[in-house]
């Protein structure tokens, strides 16, 4: 039987604010446990929340970048539930007045570009983190994340395959990053994604029972978790056992590579939402909406078009560069600093990405300053160092963050263009390789390539390869 998969996503993105949503604690990631807390975010009795205006601003910005309608009259609501990571025993969120509604994100599919509609975006505060101690009868709690501002973005069930869901999330992430709304680091939890998935017969209009999957921490896991759940549901339909698909929340276990039941619909909390009496309604003025529109920078879609038309790069190259704001900014800055666009693109996409992958770091953590990268590539262009030498200088820069000039000097990697020095090496190479000399003389001119290689090796990559070749050919002719 032919099935259609229906997927909707709920994304939580931490907003890029310096301070928390209701107090002045830092939102900085990586602090010591409970270092970023105060009586207000700890919900001590008597304390009150005061809304950080920057949160509203960034949420409006997100709505604008994602083609939403901005709701002018906003209120905050309390979502009540007991859990040790939630100090007030309620989360301040938005229930029936989300700050943004009706958005759109475009995705590329094998059948061309399509729209994924957004149902809503609302503001809320994050909860803390429980640290379960293995083999110990207690858990520890880190409240640093409590009160970090979030937006929850809820899509419509408009995706039809796990791949489309991944594309949607990638595009959404890029838009949030480009607009400076969130740094979207999935591994740090600043971008989190829950997925709703159901299966229906091809052509069927109504939706079947959906299952929610939580605890997805990367794009790869999103794809895998959805594929697994899609397969599970299809199998149940195949066997006529679809009654076993119940509305429930399943947890993705990345280690075991499967989803397991977390809680069923019957266990669902009654959150007893009601308007938070501590926070007065927030009215967003037209002037703010207009101002935010002007703040929206170039977004991935436009950047792709511009890169395609102005840099003579391939579509694939542009896709990889533009998929990340940092990367494409890096590229453009190198070009602005005078680096040839082809060479800038090649170095970024091959050498740089290789090391990023090896070291398992984020693009933002690339330790080479753009100015340093530009000087390195200029040295290559000016033939001050060879490409081979440049690669090792690059690695050194990546490891130490040092300036390329200093590394070249320290390692003596400057290209040898001094005729005397090259003559000396060439003579030695010719003496050591009589067979190659003989081959060349007998007409196998490609033998010179091997000899150039030997000169490069002897000079530790410093010899100017063109000079080496010229000198070799000249000396062999002289030997006649």
């Amino acid at each position: 039987m032919s099935y259609e998969t229906v997927i909707g996503l709920e994304i939580h993105a931490e907003l890029n604010t310096k301070t928390k949503i209701f107090c002045s604690c830092s939102t900085h990631f990586g602090a010591k446990p409970n270092e970023n807390t105060c009586p207000i975010c700890m919900g001590l009795p008597g304390t009150l929340p005061v809304l950080n205006e920057e949160v509203v601003h960034l949420a409006v910005k997100a709505g604008t970048a994602l083609n939403c309608k901005i709701n002018k009259l906003n209120k905050m609501d309390r979502k009540n539930y007991f859990y040790p990571d939630l100090p007030k025993a309620y989360q301040i969120s938005q229930f029936d007045t989300p700050i943004c509604g009706n958005g759109l994100v475009y995705i590329e599919t094998p059948d061309g570009q399509r729209e994924v509609r957004l149902n809503r975006i609302h503001i809320e505060e994050d909860a803390g983190k429980l640290v379960h101690m293995e083999y110990e009868p207690y858990s520890l709690i880190d409240y640093n994340r409590v009160g970090v501002p979030l937006i929850e973005i809820v899509s419509e069930p408009d995706m039809r395959s796990p791949q489309e869901a991944v594309t949607f999330l990638r595009n959404l992430k890029a838009i949030l990053e480009y607009s400076g709304i969130s740094d979207c680091r999935m591994e740090q939890g600043s971008l989190r994604c829950d997925a709703n998935i159901s299966i229906r017969k091809a052509g069927q209009q109504e939706y079947n029972t959906k299952v929610e999957i939580k605890n997805i921490n990367s794009f790869r896991e999103l794809q895998k978790a959805l594929e697994k759940e899609e397969k599970r549901q299809k199998q149940l339909y195949d066997y006529g056992e679809e009654f076993r698909i119940v509305q429930e929340t399943r947890r993705w276990d990345a280690g075991k590579g499967k989803t397991v039941t977390m809680r069923s619909k019957e266990d669902a909390n009654d959150y007893r939402y009601f308007p938070d009496p501590d926070i007065i309604p927030i009215v967003i003025k037209d002037s703010i909406i207009e101002d935010v529109k002007k703040e929206i920078p170039e977004l991935p879609k436009q950047r792709t078009e511009r890169f395609m038309s102005s840099y003579e790069l391939t579509e694939k190259e542009v896709d990889i560069l533009v998929s990340d704001k940092f990367l494409s900014d890096y590229f453009e800055d190198l070009v602005k600093l005078g680096v040839d666009k082809k060479s800038a693109c090649n170095w970024i996409l091959t050498d740089m990405l290789k090391l990023v992958k090896e070291k398992e770091i984020e693009y933002e953590e690339i330790p080479i300053k753009k100015e340093d990268m530009a000087s390195l590539l200029k040295m290559v262009a000016d033939k001050k160092i060879s490409v081979t030498a440049a690669k090792s200088v690059f690695e050194e820069m990546f490891n130490t963050g040092n300036h390329p000039e200093a590394i070249v000097k320290e390692k003596g990697l400057g290209q040898i263009s001094d005729t005397g020095a090259i003559d000396e090496i060439v003579v030695a190479v010719l003496q050591a390789n009589p067979q190659s000399v003989a081959d060349y003389k007998s007409g196998k001119t490609q033998a010179v390539g091997y000899l150039v290689g030997q000169v490069m090796k002897q000079s530790k990559g410093k010899a100017n390869p063109q000079m080496a070749r010229d000198t070799l050919e000249k000396k062999i002719k002289e030997m006649v």
Partner: protein
């Protein structure tokens, strides 16, 4: 000289003019509390050392000729649901028996900035839920006018302390009458400010949309002075108003009630009202007429629904506000528990009193899915309507006058086991909180049995000046 008969103003002036020192005044009150409070039980904590130290600091400032604040050296008692840095703040609950806040409520900070000296924390109904102060987990406060009777509540400790002259003035909180009713029962002045006039930061929340902190004193001028100190916009409280107008309530306070238009709502004089109270209020109204005020009977029918709306809204908010007391981070924790949910459940079961549990259950129920519209949402609509109707009345009248309580101070244990009857004690006060307007309770006579009677003067939003003027005029006329 009877120190305990001196007003806050007189104490402040005497300390400033070196007639006596703050240390002497504080010592006097602490000695008196130690001697007499055993009968009344108005205090939960006495801050003897701290208060004497603070008093000496003020005295030193004065000795050096430094500028001092408007309450320089005068002792004040604080209701135990208002956070005091370094001083236990219990809400009269086992839950917070050992809770020492690391911060001052904004009102406490303002009092300290005005050089007032905090001498102690007063008893109350647990988490401010009650009308008799019998719901305290620690002690039952007695009415200083009759030790067999209750002082009212929930701010019974603060009212009784001032009534028994165990403090020259004090702070309480009022969610549905918790300042005005005990003020009436204890024969003192008590004011519930406009919602948003006084910061709620540091007040342990009961019904957040209704709670306000306000003063108790033995005369109207002291009440005005205390209010001036604690009022003001607070960036730490989002619900504090940004347009509060002048807080200089003393200037012009004696300008009288001539040409003031007074509305007297007939709904506040219905069947349940004690005839002695009714007579006393009507007598006071005659006095005000004599001073040149015009008086008309009015009708605000919607106020009859106020009590139900009040108990729905305040309990709903309380059920959420009190959820944070789960035994995880601070507060009461049982000795043994199975797991984290058992820890939460036992903490709450063992540390909350009956009335608190009753309101949490009521509040949880009215917010439950399927019931929200029938109860909470309907109550919110009523609240809005009540606010509008009061606004309408105040477009025609300067003030409204009514009784504070339908009954005289009742006996301890008389209503303790009848929550509904207890809730009826709030029938004349709750509408004022729902409307968000200010009201003051002033003594207006005594019953034949010698029990105090209070009169309520209600004003428009931020009309504190007006109600204080009327209260002062009545106070003068009744002398």
């Amino acid at each position: 000289m009877d120190i305990d008969k001196l007003s806050v103003e007189a104490l402040r002036d005497g300390i400033r003019d070196k007639v006596f020192t703050s240390e002497e005044i504080v010592e006097f009150y602490i000695k008196k509390i130690k001697k007499e409070d055993g009968n009344i039980n108005s205090y939960l904590t006495i801050c003897e050392e701290r208060a004497l130290k603070d008093a000496r600091i003020v005295d030193e400032k004065i000795a050096k000729g430094e500028k001092v604040g408007m309450l320089a050296g005068v002792p004040i008692a604080i209701k135990d649901n208002i956070c005091t840095d370094g001083i236990t703040t219990t809400c009269a609950s086992k839950m917070l028996e050992d809770f020492i806040p690391p911060y001052d409520a904004t009102v406490v900070k303002k009092l300290k900035d005005a050089d007032a000296v905090i001498i102690g924390k007063t008893n109350m109904d647990e988490f401010a839920m009650g009308s008799s102060t019998e719901n305290s987990a620690f002690k039952v406060t007695k009415n200083p006018h009759d030790l067999e009777r209750v002082p009212g509540g929930s701010s019974g400790g603060s009212a009784a302390a001032v009534g028994a002259r165990l403090a020259p003035f004090s702070l309480g909180s009022d969610t549905g009458g918790s300042i005005r009713q005990p003020a009436a029962f204890c024969g003192v002045v008590g004011l519930k400010p406009t919602y948003g006039l006084v910061s709620r930061f540091g007040l342990i929340a009961f019904g957040s949309s209704l709670d306000q902190i306000g003063p108790f004193s033995n005369n109207v001028r002291d009440c005005a002075l205390a209010l001036e100190i604690i009022a003001g916009t607070d960036p730490l409280d989002n619900t504090s108003s940004k347009n509060i107008g002048s807080t200089d309530y003393l200037t012009g306070i004696d300008s009288g009630v001539e040409k003031m238009k007074i509305g007297v709502p007939k709904e506040f004089f219905g069947d349940g009202l004690d005839p002695e109270i009714k007579a006393s209020i009507l007598n006071s109204i005659e006095k005000l007429k004599g001073l040149g005020a015009t008086v008309e009977e009015i009708s605000i029918p919607i106020t009859e629904a106020g009590l139900s709306a009040y108990y729905v809204i305040s309990s709903a908010e309380a059920s959420s506000n009190l959820a944070r007391f789960d035994g995880i981070r601070y507060g009461y924790r049982p000795k043994e528990f199975e797991d984290v949910y058992d820890l939460m459940e036992k903490s709450r079961t063992e540390a909350f009193g009956e009335e608190v549990k009753r309101r949490i259950m009521l509040g949880t129920y009215v917010l439950s899915s399927g019931y929200y519209d029938a109860y909470y949402n309907r109550a919110l609509k009523l609240k809005k309507k009540i606010k509008e109707e009061f606004k309408e009345v105040f477009s025609k009248y300067d003030i409204i006058i009514s009784p504070v309580s339908p009954v005289l101070p009742f006996k301890c244990n008389e209503k303790k086991n009848n929550p509904l009857e207890m809730y009826l004690a709030d029938v004349y006060t709750v509408n004022i909180n729902l409307a968000g307007v200010p009201a003051i309770s002033v003594p207006c006579g005594t019953s034949k049995s010698g029990l105090p009677i209070g009169l309520q003067i209600i004003g428009p939003h931020f009309g504190e000046s007006t109600i204080l003027k009327a209260a002062l005029a009545l106070e003068g006329a009744l002398k």
